[in-house]
Symmetry: D2
Subunit: 358 residues, 4 copies
């Protein structure tokens, strides 16, 4: 009920505050016999970790994952996979000024309203540090998907008003990791990076959009009513910190179209295919074998190095000024998180689909 | 696992194909002692039902709900509320041409891929007729919310490229039901209606956007990690037929902003408030007491009265031409569905929040 | 949360009060392509229904099940199976004396304590009439198990102090339906029937034990920790009205044994087998391929045709005297319910086991 | 689905193999503001830990729990409570002889059948070491119950054929911890201890029964159909290693009674009460305010220091002889586990009952 578990068959239950002992989780429902590539898992975490480039927060955290159970001789046993990441770089003093004042557009006030208290050290459970557990579970999901020939690529497609207009089909997705903003178009990437640097120098932050493409999902995955495949992908993405919107296939643009423009005609070429893909690979909540693609909207990070009006828990009005080491733009580090959530949803639904037919 | 249950404490489990005996559901988790206003529930259904105006499908369905349990002397007993709506207007012959050909951008092919079969009579379970069960459960949720002083208003804010640019705060939401397209601005409504008529005459269909405003939710509702309040609202909306996108608060527009422009400053006036509301009433997944508002993107209806290329189950290519009585635009009838889903999410999360504190 | 859903993949959500419009349910998670034998389902219901012999309640209820969805051309479609049984014989007046007085060892007082109200017409939701929905879902589960070669046989093994001492292996389980008490030993059956008649004439009731044998479950079904196969079987049985205890394999008798007496030695004969079966076919919560067998303890029916002390909702003390038509012994009609619950648990766990290995 | 989560609102998800890095879990759904008494939690663990007396296994394990999240300044924050216990005494070599041979009445064969592999080091996940996580979660549940005035006492009531015949009401439950077998009757306790010593010397093991009494649960807790309070208690107990049976109230003995003997008459003394309590404090699945009491049957431990026939994974027959340090009788160390499971069930159902009424 408290919502710290994600998924139905392949599940992640996560724990941890940003400045407590550790964060971590339990992955349940991973089949026995999966080979675990620990280097791959760590590399996924490294894509998310702070301090990886000059356009993200300069906090230094090792983010070394320690597996506690479920894996024996580098192979899963079918039992729950417990893991944790120790919190090592906890400059809690940076947050002393937060003890009373509510940081605007953060979760300080709502945690107090809900729980009657909060961990004021760096956001506690509301910190995006929690997403490291998602990346670990997502990495294991990716290992499963790899065996099925399914790939997931997310990339930064917009920073502020700098937008990559090319369709994902016209991009070289192997180039995503070739730059620090994780945009596969080199020129746009450079402009985005400059924009983020400029914003950072001004003590400000900026939002953007991450696109994600999932290839190789066979037709027939997803449930037809409440748990439509895109509904679960949407929930997965909207559960990531700072996300304000989700669309798949034609998305919000598709609302302006006529049915005769929007429909995807079927044809046959070894299997049933569609000549266009405004459906985004999902029809009636179930995959149709085409590419699944989606967009995730991120607001600008709430912590800015500027003076802002606020109140404290007693209702006293005052001002607050950001301290500590924060991201001017969350997008580069959110790319692996989007991929992780997508991977978990696809694996979960593939497992759920095992009992479709007698 | 098959995903025909929505919610965790206040739940709807639904059943029914469009051309079977009946559709219906079971509402579980409704507290004892709620007065049931049967006329209100029926009026909510009437907002969704076919044939209510000339811009929606001309099928005539009574959509009379019959309650089978859980209510005694017009009061809930705390036991599950079973209900059904008989299917009375089943012109299955209209669908004979669908037995083999897959209708483009429908769920015919994906159902076949998933189940190895499908009910070809009018969409079966993939028909939007399924949403009538949601409206019944949503109406009961609204009765609960009414006792808490919480209101929900959804309205058509865009049809094709005709867009209502006014903020919801500048609209008179009591006017939503004053026209058949359910847009509170009379002038825009008239333009939308003309657009839909024009599209219908061309045998075509058109998409659009529904906005929804939820007022009166106290601060502290929602779970902080995977089950963020807006993530569950997003999933709820994305599970409605034809929905392609969801955003709340600043949404996709917010991605273009700087943190200094986007943050909502706190002030105090009897309670903690924000001077702007780009957060959309939710911070860190938990309500902050401000209005919750969101947008839902609908694609154009897939059934068009035009010739389209397709294939059949054997892979043979051919053409298909829409028959039967279909909606040229799903928006007017989707307004009560959006409200129903929102109501269920809010009630469920209010009930989940009962154990926040000792 | 309200607990009207049973199972995780193959699920039954049930509704209905004994004297409301109808009882029924929704079966979700039944795969597509299962042939439905309606006569078989009705015959299962007939084994549970009142009035079937002179040793059970003489109420006459048709208990005709009506399927509302999920089945097309006598085949499941993978969509939820909605069904209902109209309540036709509702002599509510028999229960007028219950409006205020709490019937001893019934759920009248606890419902009032929980919900602040209750449906006093014949027990409402606490009536064993609710179990008819379980029999319908169990019958469909049995059709699935039949295709896997799995059989379930329950029988009355004890009535009061009349106990069938033979092991199930020494009984002819095809004889269960050959007498009205459903005990496969003709002589013991006759004694049991005489005992029940004698008790009924005295206006009293009597308890007993039902044994259940499940054959053909392959090794490897069940989850190893909280959802052990026998734990879910236990919960299933304990959820049946009037059940006070559950044991499997060596059960309570096994507590008196030494390990050297109790252990089941392994041997090999085409597959791994055990030379004894005190484990009851389950080791570590997982089936080992041997017969699963269990016992379910039923208390005597609470409604007796005798004067009893009680209080009413206001706390006023008084007496109550049973009226209406009630079972002197619940065992004969509970046999199909025990089988139904066992069938649902086995199917659910078989479906859950699909993702054990890569 | 893999069943490593227990509970619905107050939940424990556990992980860990007996000879892996650590065991532990995540407690979700604990309200904010609960004072955590770490000494109490550790003392509960000490009641379960090996080596505490000469009648239990002589393995030495520190079983020191480390909390990783969810607690700040000795107070819960409403966020998930992650914890772990390092495995420190892993004499894996004791288990080398198990690599191939299946230990009789253990879960070796069924794990292989289910997962295609197993962790042969001391039982892995099937080891009772897993129950330490339950004791931690149970201790936190007890802290919640303490604030509500609810107490739970479990004790050894039978070892082999040595049975404590006194009713719990005639026992001094404060004496449970006064002896190493945890039986509140000193004389019977001494006989039980001698019996266990005798069995241990013979290289054998012995079963028994644990009784449990729960006092102070208010009327109205529990769900009326599938999730009856006693059904969830039963499942909880049956999920403990080596448990073969469960009964509550009159249990299996009640099956021999007449309704006129069994029914509990109501009377009024400040509140509704019953003059006898064969219902065991639960009627229709819902607590009635009387004491809840139950019995749990444990088989003899499977590991014996004697030669037994078995087969290995290839089907080759042979013999096996127990090694390592094992319990001759599981009862003394299982007492805190029974209490822990009972505590979790009661807390979970109290939380579930918050939405019974409007």
């Amino acid at each position: 009920m408290s919502g710290n578990t994600f998924g139905k068959i392949f599940t992640l239950t996560s724990f941890g505050e940003s400045h407590g002992e550790a964060i971590g989780g339990i992955i349940d429902g991973c089949p026995a016999g999966l080979k675990i590539d620990l280097d791959f898992i760590q590399s996924e975490l490294d894509h998310r970790k702070p301090g990886q480039s000059h356009i993200v927060t300069q906090r230094k955290e090792a983010d070394k994952v320690e597996f506690l159970s479920g894996i024996f001789n580098d192979t899963t046993m079918g039992t729950p996979i417990g893991f944790m990441i120790r919190n090592t770089n906890q400059r809690s003093k940076d947050y002393d000024h937060n003890v009373e004042a509510y940081r605007p557009s953060h979760a300080d006030y709502t945690y107090d309203a809900k729980y009657g208290m909060r961990d004021h050290r760096g956001g506690g459970r509301s910190s995006a540090r929690e997403t490291a557990a998602r990346v670990v579970a997502g990495a294991i999901a990716k290992l499963i998907l790899k065996e099925k020939g399914i790939t997931i690529h997310a990339y930064t497609s917009q920073v502020g008003d700098i937008k990559l207009l090319k369709n994902y089909k016209d991009l070289d997705l192997t180039k995503i990791e070739s730059n620090i903003v994780r945009c596969p178009d080199e020129l746009i990437a450079e402009t985005m990076i400059q924009k983020i640097e400029q914003v950072r120098k001004a003590g400000d932050t900026i939002g953007g959009v991450i696109a994600c493409v999932i290839r190789g999902v066979p037709a027939g995955i997803g449930e037809p009513v409440f748990d439509k495949l895109h509904a679960d992908l949407g929930k997965a993405m909207l559960s990531i910190n700072a996300v304000k919107g989700f669309e798949y296939g034609s998305g919000f643009e598709g609302t302006k179209m006529l049915g005769s423009q929007h429909n995807d005609a079927f044809y046959f070429d070894e299997q049933v295919k569609t000549s266009s893909n405004r459906s985004g690979g999902i029809q009636g909540g179930i995959s149709n074998g085409e590419d699944i693609y989606l967009n995730v909207a991120f607001k600008p990070v709430a912590t800015i190095m500027q003076e802002q009006s606020t109140v404290d828990a007693s209702g006293k009005e005052g001002t607050i000024h950001g301290k500590g080491r924060h991201d001017p733009c969350v997008l580069p580090r959110a790319v692996p998180i989007v991929e992780a959530m997508a991977a978990m949803v696809i694996v979960d639904h593939m497992f759920r689909s095992k009992n479709n037919k007698m």
